[in-house]
Symmetry: C2
Subunit: 217 residues, 2 copies
């Protein structure tokens, strides 16, 4: 407010960004404890710890800055659902869900995304607010968005009434299970699952949500 950030426009911002970028790479690759501040400096091309501690009060604060940034600014799979408009008919609903599920599956199995999940779960006990923020920003939002999409479809009589919270958790949990595979069996070049795994799950869900219709029609 009182004109504190005047004199340093581009230069300081650049070093700060490079430190953040280096820290992000190393934290996600090795975890919090296994990443030393010296290694971050070397990766960032910075030659003195004094520079790092000018921008971040401690290693913990740097970690929180990196993970907080990834939680809020990262393109996440929830956004795929947020963009979905209420479906017009069954065909449109199926198309929307299939596209979104495919994108989620692909995104979640990317190494950088897996590393984020791994780091979050590993450090959640030590950084509880980071884990909570991540949960409500990504998976929680996914459950909510899928659930409300299905609810909107049911209100338009496209699908039948059901426990949409359970349905959403099963669809996203099924996709998540592939990420867990990659998380537990790392490195060995397990090729990501083919997109038709997502298609199959959407079709099973929709099959459950239309069977009652068959009876009542």
């Amino acid at each position: 407010m009182s004109g504190s950030d005047r004199g340093h426009s581009s230069r300081t911002e650049k070093t700060r960004e490079s430190i953040l970028a280096a820290a992000q790479r190393l934290f996600l690759e090795r975890g919090f404890q296994a990443t030393s501040t010296d290694a971050i400096l070397a990766e960032a091309g910075v030659s003195s710890k004094e520079t790092l501690y000018r921008y971040f009060a401690s290693k913990e604060e740097l970690f929180a800055a990196v993970l907080g940034h990834l939680t809020t600014e990262q393109p996440d799979f929830s956004a795929r659902f947020a963009a979905l408009s209420p479906p017009r008919d069954f065909r449109a609903l199926r198309e929307s869900l299939t596209t979104a599920a495919r994108e989620i599956l692909t995104l979640m199995c990317q190494p950088s995304y897996l590393a984020l999940w791994r780091t979050m779960m590993a450090e959640a006990p030590r950084f509880p607010q980071l884990g909570a923020a991540f949960y409500s920003a990504i998976p929680q939002r996914g459950f909510t968005l899928v659930g409300s999409l299905l609810r909107a479809a049911s209100e338009q009589r496209i699908i039948v009434e059901a426990d949409f919270e359970a349905v959403a958790r099963m669809l996203l949990g099924g996709l998540l299970s592939y990420a867990v595979t990659e998380l537990l069996v790392p490195g060995q070049e397990t090729q990501p699952p083919s997109p038709d795994r997502a298609d199959a799950m959407v079709d099973i869900i929709l099959s459950a949500l239309t069977s009652e219709t068959e009876r009542s029609t």
Copy 2:
């Protein structure tokens, strides 16, 4: 073979067990790197590092012994499915699946089980064979067992043919999603989900697997 383990029957076994138990508690509670050998000794009531290194060549080997033991000897939720006999009719299938799903949900949300998952995913990059062993012993086996149970049911015309790999992943993944919640939002006493969440998922699955029957009958 050549009479190496003769003289030390009860005493050495006891200290070894106490070291393993202490290491298990601390590794699961704090993780690998944050647990010092000194802390393990204190927790085990052992007064010299020499004793620890008599039984385990390194901290890594002790960690592998603990996690390997937990992977193979722990009562796991796959065993619940392995005990299931091929169902006689639809009612028996639903009963079996509901009971198993409830038990899995309860088991997976227990703190000790969550800590095992967290530790496995956190350390999988550094201990790849541990992660792979855990994956094939627990989640992989769960997918396989549920899938084959459903296949057996479909061969008896209890349910219709379907992509049972996807169905199994969705059912177990849906339950897993509750564990992920607890993993990411730790501590704050989030009460575990009620068992009827498991019931709802089983019913949705079965609804999808009977809808076609309605048509063909």
